[in-house]
């Protein structure tokens, strides 16, 4: 049999939509912190508050049962008596008058007129011992029922609804302060002044490695008041609000370092890497392009199911954005070598394979790169198109970088990039390259800052990738007697306008009718087919609109489609 009145805290609507944080709730939460004497997570506060609300309602119901003032038609009442009405969410009313009831179907009964606290009046039957849902034992009317959820079940079910409401209320209350999901009272915060923070800065300088606040406190011995937890919270909070410091750890396990000691790309994504064109997966590309994509090793192309050479060393060709920012790609295979959490910046060691010298760098998993290679790139004379091999080391968080110095040191014709009239200009010039490289992607850059400036302006102009591919094709084709350009060179040059993975560039070549593959990775352009795209994998392979006799047909596949049959086979 259904119970007449469910506890408010048993009702989904109470937690999902009616629950509000009032001064009363805030006072309780303040008490939780005061009692603990240390910060508390939002989960802890929500749990404590929900249990408190459940318990309070139970106690109130128990009091009403013991008082015997819950309205039941079978009971009799006197003028002046206060009653609780279970069907009106335990509204209280006072009996103001009584009179005999008239209904020949019942034995003699009384009608009581009651006045509710909101001023309304109503009449109720009393002394009427008939079968009626309210004529039940008091504990059934106001107490627990078998249908009720246990306290823990209420918490598990409704805490996700309550937590955001509590969090918002704490945010809006000036008495509360938070740091990475942990809340504390402003009043209890041990004060860290600038002198303390200067000492913290010195401690990190001295250690030369990121420090957790617990270690900083131990080193500094500041003699502050408050519990250890309060001091840790306070120091974390103070460091987070000082621009000098950066948390390179996780949200829950902070590890503090100095921005001044980190390469810029480890702190924030550089402009040359901004808003990249990324593959979404399932783009159509030529089958032979898969090897090229793998050889380029661009982290933007590193999608699940994309890698075809899992067992080999990790290799990449240096693109302009990486060279300029002193970064290197950290795709899925490289990231799999490390243990990290979201948002973390992991200090790692890189070892120069030529001489065994090691240097510090930062793995930034969220950005997909390793930062801190600027000096090393300069030392080895790195160029756009330079080949680097990465191998794992026996040492923890350590990678070995290998480049090869060519035996021949003679100079040769090299593509060189410059900027003229806000456009990339490519010319062949005599030059000497000091590292092994891929001739297809090799582009020497005399003035890197000018190219970086071009990239910044391109970012503002919002030019499409297709427009950029066309622009660099024109530049590259003029350097070729056949008027063609390789897909690798197009990728390399596009990355001097805007950061892009290879796949988005290759996908444009594959589906655009104005571009035709002519073998060896080279592509030709036919302006009369401008704007026409092939829709099916068969057309992308056969290219029925092409007027070229030297067309090279390449099977077309979906990129990063593991286990999927090739579409153009």
């Amino acid at each position: 049999m259904a119970r007449v009145r469910r506890m408010r805290t048993q009702e989904p609507t109470y937690w999902k939509s009616d629950f509000r944080v009032t001064e009363q709730e805030l006072d309780f939460l303040t008490g939780v912190i005061l009692e603990r004497g240390q910060p508390a997570s939002l989960d802890t506060l929500v749990t404590a508050l929900m249990f408190q609300l459940i318990q309070t309602e139970k106690e109130r119901a128990a009091r009403q049962v013991s008082d015997g003032e819950v309205y039941r038609p079978a009971d009799t009442y006197e003028t002046g008596q206060t009653l609780y009405f279970t069907d009106r969410d335990m509204a209280t009313a006072t009996v103001v008058s009584t009179r005999p009831g008239v209904n020949p179907r019942y034995d003699a009964f009384t009608v009581v007129r009651v006045a509710f606290q909101d001023g309304t009046e109503a009449e109720f039957a009393s002394g009427l011992d008939i079968e009626h849902p309210l004529n039940r034992p008091l504990d059934e009317l106001v107490g627990a029922s078998e249908e009720d959820l246990a306290d823990e079940e209420i918490l598990a079910t409704y805490a996700p609804y309550v937590a955001p409401v509590v969090e918002q209320a704490l945010h809006q209350d000036h008495g509360w302060i938070h740091f990475d999901g942990v809340w504390f009272l402003n009043e209890l915060l041990p004060e860290f002044h600038v002198g303390h923070l200067n000492l913290a800065e010195a401690a990190i300088y001295e250690a030369g490695v990121p420090l957790p606040v617990s270690e900083m406190l131990a080193r500094l011995d500041l003699g502050l008041a408050g519990s250890q937890q309060a001091q840790l919270f306070s120091l974390n909070h103070a460091l987070a609000n000082d621009e000098r410091f950066i948390n390179v750890g996780t949200r829950t396990a902070q590890n503090w370092f100095l921005r001044a000691l980190m390469p810029a790309a480890a702190v924030a994504r550089p402009a040359v890497h901004a808003e990249p064109f990324r593959p979404e997966g399932h783009e159509y590309v030529g089958l032979t392009m898969l090897d090229v994509i793998e050889a380029l090793g661009d982290e933007l192309d590193s999608l699940p199911g994309a890698s075809i050479n899992e067992g080999r060393d990790i290799a990449f060709q240096v693109s302009f954005p990486h060279l300029y920012a002193g970064t290197m790609p950290a795709g899925r295979r490289l990231l799999a070598l490390f243990t990290y959490e979201q948002g973390q910046r992991l200090p790692i060691t890189l070892v120069d394979g030529r001489n065994g010298k090691s240097f510090s760098a930062w793995l930034v998993p969220d950005e997909g790169y390793v930062a801190g290679l600027g000096d090393w790139y300069k030392q080895v004379g790195m160029v756009v198109g330079g080949l680097v091999t990465v191998t794992n080391s026996d040492q923890p968080n350590t990678l070995k970088l290998s480049v090869t110095v060519p035996r021949s040191s003679s100079s040769g014709w090299v593509r060189q990039a410059s900027v003229d009239d806000n456009a990339l200009v490519l010319q062949m010039q005599l030059g000497r390259i000091g590292v092994r490289h891929d001739a297809a992607t090799l582009i020497d850059v005399a003035d890197p800052a000018a190219i970086a400036g071009l990239m910044a302006r391109t970012l503002e102009s919002d030019r499409s990738l297709y427009a950029l591919v066309k622009a660099v094709f024109a530049e590259l084709a003029k350097l070729s007697p056949q008027g063609v350009a390789s897909c690798q060179a197009l990728y390399s040059a596009v990355n001097m306008y805007h950061r892009s993975g290879a796949v988005p560039v290759f996908a444009i070549l594959t589906r655009s009718a104005c571009f035709d593959p002519v073998g060896s990775g080279d592509w030709a352009y036919d302006g009369s087919l401008e704007g026409t795209e092939y829709e099916t994998p068969d057309d992308m392979r056969e290219r029925p609109l092409s007027r070229r006799n030297d067309l090279a047909r390449d099977q077309v596949v979906h990129y990063a489609a593991t286990g999927e049959a090739s579409d153009g086979a």
Binding site: R72, P73, G101, R105, V111, F124, A125, H132
Partner: protein, 141 residues
């Protein structure tokens, strides 16, 4: 502004127009008394003609003073099987359903659900055939 006449549909709500009974010079209470079950018919003889009684809400215990005739029909007689027997004509059935509902208007579809026989279209056609039976008319709020 005069209300515009609209052709009744299956969603048109009907009620018992008490003014129709007055216009026809007929006493609806006499008709209603015939619908009482034996038990209630006996009980009501103990009351004077215009006496009100205290109706007790079956869920809340709240008391309202009501006409004992209507109250008996709503709270007792209409719950008995013979109140809406299978052989009852459509018009009488609709009338009894509306009495049991406290004369709160119901659509033809709702009437059909409660009557449990014939189609809604037949019920609509019967109620709108021309002559008004038992004051059953479309309800205008």
């Amino acid at each position: 502004m005069a209300l515009r006449w609209q052709r009744p549909t299956l969603d048109t709500r009907f009620h018992i127009d008490l003014s129709w009974w007055v216009e026809q010079g007929r006493d609806i209470r006499v008709y209603l008394a015939d619908l009482l079950c034996d038990e209630c018919a006996g009980t009501l003889t103990q009351l004077s003609a215009d006496q009100m009684i205290d109706s007790v809400n079956p869920q809340t215990g709240e008391v309202h003073q009501v006409d004992p005739l209507w109250d008996s029909l709503i709270s007792c007689c209409s719950h008995k099987p013979e109140y809406l027997s299978d052989d009852i004509p459509i018009v009488d059935g609709v009338f009894r359903i509306l009495v049991a509902n406290g004369n709160r208007a119901l659509s033809v579809r709702e009437l059909h659900e409660r009557l449990g026989k014939r189609s809604p279209e037949v019920i609509l056609r019967t109620l709108t055939a021309g002559e008004v039976y038992l004051g059953l008319r479309p309800y205008r709020a």
